[in-house]
C-alpha cells in the first residue's frame, strides 16, 4: 500500500524498517523533519533519539553507536555536514558503518535554505582528512529516499563504511506516494562490534596506526574496498540513451527535469538521452565511456556551478566534449531553459560531427 509522505519522513521510516535503532542529530533547515520524525518514531521501535548539542557531537555519537553494532542514522544539511567531516573521516578510518542524510541547501557560508546541489564536492570527494571515500546515493524521488536509505544501511554494513544519502531540499520537502517493504529487515549483529559481551571483548575499533607501514597497509585495505565498490556497487538509470547522440547527465531532482527535456527534444527530432547516476561514488564512469562510443557530446546539468561535471570529464578522459549548464542559489532550471540550451548546443555539434565519422574515433 502506498503512503503519501515527505521525502525527509520517508528516510526515517525506511531507516527504522532497515533496522536503524539510533538517531543523533541537530536541527537545521531543510533537514529538521528527519530529526523530528526520528524523535517521534524511533522510541516506538525501541530505538534512541538524542538531540545532540551540535553536529560535531552528533557524528561522534554515531561513531559510538556504530562501534557498539547498532545501525545509526544522522541527518543534516551543508553547514552541518561540514561540521561532521572530521567525524566522518574517523568513522571511515575505523571502518564503522553509518548512514548520513544530507538534504542540500544553498551555500557557501550561510547561503540560504533553498535547494541546491553544492555539497557534491564535500560529500562525494570526502570533506574530511585522509585517504577515504564515502559511498554516496542520490535519490530523485520520495520513493528513492526510502529505497536508497535501506540500501545505504546494507552498503554501510557490507563495506563497513559511512554511506551518504545525498538529496536536495526539494526531494526532502516534497510529498509523493511511497511503497515500503512489507517486512522489516533485521540485520545481524556484526562480529567486529564492541557490544559489551565476553565474545567481543577483544574487538578493537580504532583508526590509529602509528607505524607508517601499518597505516599504509590499513589504507591499502580501505582502498581495496573502494575498488571493490567501484566494480560492484555502481548504479545508474539510463533513459533513451540507446540511440542518443547527445547524452544529458544529471542526478537527483535535476534528472527529473532532464527527463522532460529528453521527451521534448525527441519530439523535435533530436536524438537526446539521459544518464542519471544513482551512486555518485562509485561513479558510473564505465557507462559514460561506453556511451561515448555513440554520443557526440555530453551535456551536464546541476544545481551548482559545476561539481559532478568534473567526474564526467574524468570518466570520459577527453573522448567527447563535455559541456555544463548550472543554476544555483536555490534557483531550479526550467525544462524550457535547458531545452533552449540543448538545442543551441545541438546546432553547434551536428554540423561539425556526423555520428558515422565519430564511430571509430
Amino acid at each position: 500500500m502506498k503512503q503519501l509522505i515527505k521525502g525527509n519522513e520517508a528516510i526515517v521510516k525506511s531507516a527504522i524498517l532497515a533496522g536503524c535503532r539510533a538517531f543523533y542529530g541537530y536541527p537545521i533547515t531543510p533537514a529538521s523533519e528527519i530529526a523530528e520524525a526520528a524523535a517521534l518514531y524511533l522510541p516506538r521501535a525501541g530505538g534512541v533519539f538524542l538531540q545532540a548539542e551540535s553536529e560535531v557531537a552528533a557524528i561522534n555519537m554515531l561513531y559510538g553507536a556504530a562501534a557498539a553494532g547498532v545501525r545509526a542514522l544522522t541527518a543534516s544539511s551543508g553547514p552541518g555536514i561540514s561540521l561532521m567531516q572530521e567525524g566522518i573521516s574517523y568513522l571511515a578510518g575505523a571502518e564503522l558503518p553509518c548512514v548520513i542524510a544530507d538534504i542540500m541547501r544553498g551555500g557557501p557560508g550561510l547561503g540560504n535554505i533553498a535547494p541546491e546541489q553544492g555539497d557534491y564536492n564535500q560529500v562525494v570527494k570526502g570533506g574530511g582528512h585522509g585517504n577515504y571515500r564515502t559511498l554516496v546515493l542520490a535519490p530523485d524521488s520520495v520513493q528513492e529516499m526510502a529505497d536508497l536509505t535501506r540500501l545505504a544501511f546494507d552498503l554501510a554494513d557490507e563495506y563497513r563504511n559511512p554511506v551518504v544519502v545525498l538529496a536536495d531540499g526539494y526531494t526532502g520537502q516534497m510529498m509523493e506516494p511511497v511503497e515500503f517493504p512489507a517486512a522489516a529487515m533485521l540485520p545481524r549483529r556484526p562480529a567486529w562490534a564492541v557490544d559489551g559481551t565476553a565474545a567481543t571483548r577483544r574487538n578493537l575499533i580504532t583508526s590509529i596506526y602509528l607505524e607508517p607501514d601499518q597505516l599504509e597497509a590499513h589504507v591499502r585495505k580501505l582502498e581495496t574496498k573502494y575498488r571493490r565498490a567501484e566494480q560492484q556497487a555502481v548504479r545508474f538509470e539510463s533513459h533513451r540513451t540507446e540511440d542518443a547522440e547527445i547524452v544529458l547527465v544529471g542526478y537527483g531532482i535535476v534528472a527529473r527535469i532532464l527527463k522532460a527535456v529528453v521527451e521534448q527534444a525527441r519530439a523535435q527530432g533530436l536524438a537526446v538521452g539521459l544518464l542519471r547516476p544513482i551512486t555518485l561514488y562509485p561513479f558510473p564512469a564505465a557507462e559514460l565511456r561506453r556511451l561515448s562510443r555513440q554520443a557526440l557530446a555530453f551535456l551536464v546539468v546541476e544545481m551548482s556551478t559545476g561539481q559532478m561535471v568534473e567526474d564526467v570529464r574524468l570518466a570520459l578522459e577527453g573522448r567527447r566534449p563535455v559541456e555544463f549548464y548550472g543554476r544555483c542559489g536555490g534557483n531550479v532550471p526550467s525544462a524550457e531553459e535547458i531545452l533552449r540550451w540543448v538545442r543551441e548546443r545541438a546546432d553547434h555539434y551536428w554540423p561539425a560531427f556526423a555520428p558515422e565519422e565519430m564511430a571509430d574515433a
Binding site: S32, E36, A39, F49, Q51, L110
Partner: protein, 299 residues
C-alpha cells in the same frame, strides 16, 4: 596606518537603528533586549564605531543586522570564538556578543565555558527563550523537564542547563540575569556589563511567543524578584551568588548576581599588548634582520 578623525555624533536611539527592521514575531522578547542594548549605549554615550556586535545563528542572532554598530553574523555556536579573535585583534573596541540559549549553551557550550575561563573582556547577552525558534520549535538546553516540543514529542527527559551556575563555575567575572519586559532594570544590567573589565554574562529571559507556551511573560511576571531590592545582597560574594543561582520555580532571582573586579582580562594578560596598541593598528612589517632570522632558524 592612516589615522582618521571620526566626528562624534550624538548617540541617540534613532541613529543606533539598523538598516533593516527586525523580522522577529510580534511580541518576541528580543525586541526588548535590542531596545535595552541600544539604551545602554545611548546612556553610556558609546559611539557606534566603538562597538562590534557579534552573533551566531538563531532568531536572536539576527540582532547585529538590526543595530547600527559594527556587526558580525558568524557560525552557529562559534560567536564567542570569533569575538575572542576580534577582542585580541582590537581590544579598544567594545565587543558585544548576542545570541540564544541553543547557540550559546548547546552547540556553543564549550566555547561559552572557555571564553569565561579566559575572562575575555566582552559583554555576552543571551536571549534565553528555552526553545529553538529559528528551526521552528525543538528542545533547547534550557527547556524544562517534561516540556513537549517537536523534537521531544513525548516530553523533555533531560535536566536543563543552569546558565547562572555554569557561568559562576566557569569563572565569569560578571554574572547577571534580566528579563526583556523589565526595560529599566535590563538597561542598567547591560550598562554595568559594558563597563565591566572582563567577561560579562547577562542571561535575559526573552519569551518566544510562537513556540514556547510554557515560559511566557505571564509565567515569569509573578516569579522574578530583583536582587537589587535586597539591600543585604552582596554581589562580590561568589557563594551567595551560587546559592541564588540554584533558585528556580516560585521565585526566580534577576539582577546582578556576581561581579569580581581587578582580575586581568585575556588581552590584559597578553604580553604583546602591554603597550596598549591594538594589534590591528600596528605596523605589520617586521625588520629584515628579524625576518631573516625566522627563515634561517630551524626547530
Amino acid at each position: 596606518m592612516a589615522t582618521t578623525t571620526v566626528e562624534a555624533v550624538p548617540v541617540t536611539m534613532a541613529n543606533l537603528k539598523g538598516r533593516v527592521d527586525p523580522d522577529w514575531c510580534p511580541g518576541c522578547g528580543d525586541f526588548g533586549v535590542l531596545a535595552a542594548y541600544q539604551k545602554a549605549l545611548v546612556e553610556l554615550r558609546i559611539q557606534p564605531h566603538q562597538v562590534v556586535t557579534i552573533s551566531g545563528i538563531g532568531c536572536s542572532s539576527n540582532l547585529p543586522g538590526f543595530i547600527h554598530t559594527y556587526g558580525m553574523h558568524t557560525l552557529h555556536g562559534r560567536s564567542l570564538a570569533v569575538a575572542t579573535g576580534v577582542k585580541l585583534a582590537n581590544h579598544h573596541l567594545h565587543v558585544v556578543v548576542t545570541g540564544g540559549d541553543g547557540d550559546g549553551f548547546g552547540i556553543g557550550g564549550n566555547h561559552f565555558v572557555h571564553t569565561m575561563r579566559r575572562n575575555v573582556d566582552l559583554l555576552y547577552i543571551v536571549m534565553d527563550n528555552q526553545i529553538y525558534g529559528l528551526t521552528t520549535g525543538q528542545t533547547s538546553p534550557t527547556s524544562r523537564v517534561g516540556m513537549k516540543t517537536k523534537s521531544m514529542p513525548f516530553g523533555n527527559i533531560e535536566e536543563p542547563v543552569n546558565p547562572m551556575a555554569l557561568a559562576l563555575a566557569a569563572g565569569a567575572t560578571f554574572v547577571a540575569r534580566g528579563i526583556s519586559s523589565e526595560q529599566k532594570h535590563l538597561t542598567e544590567l547591560l550598562k554595568q556589563g559594558l563597563m565591566h573589565k572582563g567577561f560579562a554574562f547577562v542571561d535575559v529571559f526573552s519569551p518566544c511567543v510562537t513556540y514556547n507556551h510554557d515560559n511566557t511573560y505571564q509565567w515569569f511576571r509573578p516569579r522574578v524578584k530583583k536582587l537589587e531590592d535586597d539591600p543585604g545582597y552582596d554581589p562580590s560574594n561568589w557563594y551567595a551568588a551560587m546559592e541564588k543561582a540554584q533558585m528556580w520555580g516560585e521565585e526566580i532571582p534577576i539582577g546582578r548576581f556576581f561581579q569580581r573586579t581587578g582580575l586581568p582580562s585575556l588581552h590584559g594578560n597578553e604580553p604583546i599588548l602591554a603597550d596598549d596598541v591594538p594589534l590591528a593598528h600596528r605596523d605589520p612589517r617586521i625588520a629584515p634582520d628579524l625576518a631573516r632570522q625566522f627563515v634561517e632558524e630551524l626547530m
